[in-house]
């Protein structure tokens, strides 16, 4: 009888944010910008040790078996600190797909994922957007084709690749015939790559896995919304702090109505979006029939407000917000990248309309 975070969830959030503030300050993120892949294994191991890699791994596989709302709080904290990590793929999407699909292989991988020893990237872009004629097919027990914008695949051990809306496969990232190439984006805090398959023998193929794929996408979208919302929080916090400290015309700039209103408008968008995020994530476990629509809406809505917040909070900082050294742009770009990573707003709204019978189904 309570719309809000439980005490345990508040504690989880505090613990993680405290840890990240101490161990992954923005200077650490900046260092990782020049790495081959930003998903630094030592950060991930530390997070795994605290139990965050296995937040969605079932208890039967030694995971924490928590809810998606707990996982969303983790994603939000990672977005808030702009921490590079394979959480989206290995902490959210892969475990959700494997746990839903089930089976011996899946269980074994889930155990590895939860301990943080095994990192699994995901390549699912072609489920919602096909560019450059990409797509991966099965022929004679081997995989051929190309997956664009695979998430967290670079430094991973395994890669989950969607074949179609009912089928996914798991391959070793060092499998013969598989080439994974990092694709640089504006966002230096997230790993994206191209995976080219030339006769790759998969570790497993999951057929009839439509539910697993749908749940994986829903969970991923909610978590990505949480991540972007966390980034928005961070940008607003920094704007408000800067407005309380920077003087121009002999006054703190936060005493100017224009600056006040920019901050007010940002927080007025953020707080209700937080409520929607909580409800959407909660629905995933408690009212899953509501989730398909909510997952589309929450990510589309957060993507829209986040673009605005990213721009306005940079403007609050004036010229300094535009410099590299101020670091604000790490969040700006994380938000920019998130906007299309699991489907852009137009696509998601079209899906939402279809789910309600408002638009002709594809």
């Amino acid at each position: 009888m309570d719309f809000g975070l439980s005490e345990e969830q508040q504690l989880l959030e505090q613990t993680l944010r405290g840890f990240l503030a101490e161990h992954v300050p923005i200077e650490r993120v900046r260092e990782l910008r020049d790495a081959d892949c930003p998903n630094d294994r030592s950060i991930w191991s530390a997070l795994a040790e605290l139990g965050f890699a296995g937040v969605l791994v079932p208890e039967a596989q030694n995971g924490s078996g928590l809810t998606l709302l707990d996982a969303a709080l983790v994603a939000q904290a990672l977005g808030h600190s702009a921490t590079p990590s394979p959480f989206l793929a290995s902490g959210i999407m892969a475990p959700m797909a494997l746990a839903t699909a089930g089976g011996t292989a899946a269980d074994a991988w889930l155990e590895g994922i939860g301990s943080g020893d095994l990192v699994m990237g995901v390549a699912v872009t072609e489920l919602f957007s096909v560019r450059e004629g990409a797509g991966v097919q099965q022929r004679g027990g081997q995989l051929h084709g190309r997956a664009m914008m695979a998430v967290d695949a670079c430094n991973a051990n395994l890669l989950l690749v969607a074949i179609d809306s009912e089928t996914f496969a798991v391959v070793k990232t060092d499998a013969a015939g598989l080439e994974i190439t990092r694709l640089n984006t504006v966002d230096a805090t997230r790993c994206t790559s191209e995976a080219v398959f030339e006769g790759v023998r998969p570790e497993a193929v999951f057929d009839g896995a439509g539910d697993a794929i749908r749940r994986m996408l829903e969970a991923g979208r909610i978590a990505l919304a949480a991540d972007a919302l966390g980034a928005c929080e961070a940008m607003i916090e920094q704007s408000v702090a800067y407005a309380k400290e920077r003087k121009q015309f002999g006054r703190l700039i936060g005493s100017f109505q224009a600056v006040k209103h920019m901050c007010s408008e940002m927080i007025a968008e953020l707080e209700p979006a937080r409520s929607l995020l909580w409800y959407s994530a909660h629905s995933f476990d408690a009212m899953p029939e509501e989730t398909p629509l909510l997952a589309c809406h929450v990510l589309a809505h957060v993507s829209e407000i986040a673009r605005e917040i990213a721009s306005v909070s940079t403007q609050v900082h004036g010229g300094i917000g535009w410099t590299d050294e101020q670091n604000l742009h790490f969040w700006f770009k994380r938000i920019a990248n998130a906007r299309h990573l699991l489907g852009g707003p137009e696509h998601l709204r079209d899906q939402a309309a279809k789910l309600q019978g408002f638009a002709p189904a594809a």
């Binding site: 809000g4 407005a243 007010s264 937080r274 409520s275 939402a352």
Partner: protein, 397 residues
């Protein structure tokens, strides 16, 4: 997050349903004189079953139940389902009663809360003045001490239902020498007191829409000093408690409006094709649906804070700002969807839904302005919600 409806709630829902299947409200639940007996009977019945005044102590004529979010949600859902208002949406229950519960004397609570909740007494609110809109604290209506009474003189504006109300909760300046915010008292004023003149104030929305506004002219209006709520000179603080409450709990029922809009888009055709088939209109509808869902669940979060007595902080201050703009934007889409017929008004032929959407558009614009313009609200959000510094006081010129 606990939104499970366990068995106890299933029972509760059944009860509510049964009640609603057995009892019908009066045809209209307005403030007019001729509606009084139906209104009073119905509200009293609701209170008896705990569907109205649910958490108000029995001592003050309420049902006296402990706060419970899910019960509230269930009642709202079930009443909405059959299209029956759950109680009486007027300024007495929504603004005066919470104020009395927090700031009123025991005697005031005993005397006023019960008849107000039962709809026996209709209240109007005397806050705004022509010269004091955004800057409400600059109000000039004076309350001059005269024996055990105050003599009120001045002019109020935007006083809805002043033409029908028996009572007015009014802000007057009783301490002319105190600082601007410290000289105001919150007074309960019978509207039949000699010296009160009420004049209707027309708005841009004209003939459509229930809300009527008035100006109230006060000339040597005598009211006992005992009618002050709280302490003398604390009226500003007291009124602000309620205004804050109003800002955080404005129930815009955005979801209901959104569904109505979706229905319109399925029904309205352009060249024989439903408006819903237009990808542009549909995309706008989906954008608005996301916002409506956002505000719906934000409302539940606020309700939780409210029921638990926890401060909602900045998250509470933004509710009115967002809901009013959302209503305005939903009306705009509806009007666009109706195309050249969207401008029809005044109960003309082909007019859709009796001008509902045009009236909503204009009324929402009024809400964006009223009770503190959007600009004032953003100041409050920034200063009270985010702790940004106030504007420096101007130098005397």
């Amino acid at each position: 997050m606990d939104l499970e409806f366990d068995a106890r709630y299933d029972d509760f829902r059944s009860e509510v349903r049964e009640f609603l299947s057995k009892h019908k409200p009066p045809k209209s639940l307005g403030v007019a004189e001729e509606e009084a007996s139906g209104r009073i009977t119905w509200l009293s019945l609701l209170i008896e079953h705990g569907y109205w005044a649910r958490t108000i102590p029995e001592a003050y004529g309420g049902y006296g139940a402990p706060p419970d979010l899910l019960e509230t949600v269930i009642m709202d859902e079930e009443f909405n389902r059959v299209g029956v208002a759950r109680g009486f949406n007027a300024q007495g229950p929504s603004m005066l009663v919470p104020t009395l519960l927090t700031h009123g004397s025991e005697e005031q609570r005993k005397r006023w809360i019960s008849p107000t909740m039962r709809g026996e007494i209709i209240w109007c609110q005397g806050y705004s003045e022509p010269g004091s809109g955004s800057d409400l604290a600059s109000l000039q209506t004076s309350g001059t001490e005269d024996g055990d009474d105050f003599l009120l003189n001045g002019q109020k504006i935007w006083t809805s239902t002043a033409d029908k109300a028996q009572m007015c909760f009014i802000l007057v300046r009783t301490e002319p020498d105190a600082k601007k915010h410290e000289g105001i008292s919150y007074v309960l004023l019978p509207m039949d007191t000699p010296g009160i003149e009420v004049q209707r104030l027309e708005t841009m929305s004209g003939s459509i829409g229930e809300n009527s506004f008035n100006q109230v002219f006060l000339t040597d209006v005598r009211v006992p000093r005992a009618n002050v709520v709280g302490k003398r000179g604390e009226g500003w603080k007291i009124a602000n408690t309620t205004l804050k409450h109003e800002r955080s709990s404005l129930n815009a029922n955005a979801e209901g409006t959104l569904l109505r809009l979706a229905k319109l888009m399925q029904k309205e055709t352009i060249g024989g094709v439903p408006a819903m088939a237009s990808p542009m209109y549909r995309d706008r509808l989906m954008k608005l649906q996301a916002r409506a869902l956002t505000m719906k669940h934000h409302g539940m979060r606020m309700l939780t804070c409210n029921l638990k007595g926890e401060p909602a902080g900045v998250a509470g201050l933004i509710v009115k700002l967002q809901n009013c703009q959302l209503s305005f934007d939903m009306a705009a889409l509806a009007i666009d969807v109706m195309g050249e017929l969207g401008a029809l008004y005044d109960h003309t032929k082909y007019e859709r839904e009796r001008g509902y959407w045009q009236a909503l558009s204009m009324f929402s614009l009024g809400l964006i302005i009223g009770g503190g313009t959007a600009q004032i609200q953003k100041n409050i959000i920034a200063e009270h919600g985010l702790g940004l510094p106030r504007e420096p006081k101007p130098a005397k010129v």
